[in-house]
Symmetry: C2
Subunit: 232 residues, 2 copies
């Protein structure tokens, strides 16, 4: 039996739920599907920080998983902006895309796909506060839970990775498989305040945060910084 690998990409400072939501979904799926292997890949096996006090360590290095069939890259704040200049990380995404069936992202992870040249001429999404920055990579921003363009799927902010991952399971194996995983992780969401009411979105309050994130994360990369700021 040929085993195909789903690679979850780790880099310092990422938003940990971007990674763990879909990882839990695909891992639950893989437990019942021996043809699918899940790997968490990073530049080294050392633990790295996240946007929380939790530290996380990959199971494999990039070099150990050179030909993943599926790739997911999570997003984050300033550390994700810094990662735009991480040639090893961006190189891994670019190389993987040549043979992978599917490249996916959660939240601002789509900017990393963009930097790898994978969003040119595509519709894509990201965290709602960063939508317009996608234009800097030749993408057309769409505010949707996830945007499936075939070989590239991007998801909205943070928690959207769970919905994206269930969509992936459904796309890979159909409704029954996706439903079994959904029962496994008991995904029957009941947000205490209900679904988001977008008329209450704190757009003005978040603007300085986005601006700070881009300026702080890209302090050493003026060209890229101006390219992103031009889209705000």
């Amino acid at each position: 039996m040929t085993q195909k690998t789903f690679a979850f990409v780790v880099y310092p400072g990422l938003t940990v739920l971007d990674l763990v939501g879909p990882l839990q979904v695909l891992n639950t799926y893989a437990a019942a599907e021996p043809s699918v292997r899940v790997a968490v890949v990073g530049e080294t096996l050392d633990a790295v920080g996240t946007d929380t006090p939790l530290r996380i360590a990959p199971s494999h290095t990039f070099a150990q998983v050179p030909d993943p069939s599926w790739v997911l890259v999570p997003g984050g704040g300033a550390p994700t902006m810094r990662a735009l200049g991480d040639e090893t990380l961006i190189g891994y995404l670019r190389e993987s895309a040549k043979t992978a069936e599917l490249m996916t992202s959660v939240c601002t992870g789509s900017l990393l796909l963009g930097q790898a040249g994978l969003l040119e001429g595509r519709e894509a999404t990201t965290h709602w506060t960063f939508l317009e920055t996608l234009r800097a990579f030749g993408a057309t921003p769409v505010q949707q839970r996830w945007v499936d363009t075939g070989p590239v799927i991007t998801a909205a902010g943070v928690s959207a990775g769970i919905d994206l991952a269930l969509h992936l399971v459904e796309r890979m194996s159909g409704e029954d498989a996706a439903r079994l995983v959904q029962f496994g992780i008991e995904y029957d969401p009941q947000p205490p305040l209900g679904a988001l009411d977008w008329s209450l979105a704190p757009r003005e309050r978040m603007r300085p945060f986005v601006d700070f994130t881009v300026r702080e994360g890209l302090a050493d990369q003026p060209e890229l910084r101006e390219k992103l700021l031009a889209q705000q």
Copy 2:
């Protein structure tokens, strides 16, 4: 300013989304609320495995956070059953409960609260497949997204920790704070197959899995094992 600590408990083999869902929510809240500190606590600072290939490392030892104001303990499969016999972990929960405002759990983490003697005479919940085992700890099982009994709140399986955590933020600081966090993690769930249709729950299919989890996890603890199996 007095800073109060929210302690997220780590132990080997836990279900990682049980931990990370609420950790992301409370960390987003704490970023805007300097009186709240988030800590990830474990027996040592060493990385431990999870139910996925991801390894995770705490930020503090139990000894370094002896008096948390709030505690959350995640669940899991066989490793969580094994943790029922982990005197250091259960001791930390029991001691913390003496002074903490609030003890909380996600998924089968409620069994750990039960083992610490915190569910006696209370209503509680857990992963839907383990509901009846709560009776072994003197609790009355309730199938609800979360069960708030005042000083103890238990949540349903895995992904329910996100809803629980937003409820906690609302309880601690009100609707505006909870809404801001909800926009921060863009929690606007859209499960591809919709909410769970409980008439389709794979109850018979899951029964052997639950039985195996209890037998495997409690192989060395026949008394506890029989106590749980008696409730299946």
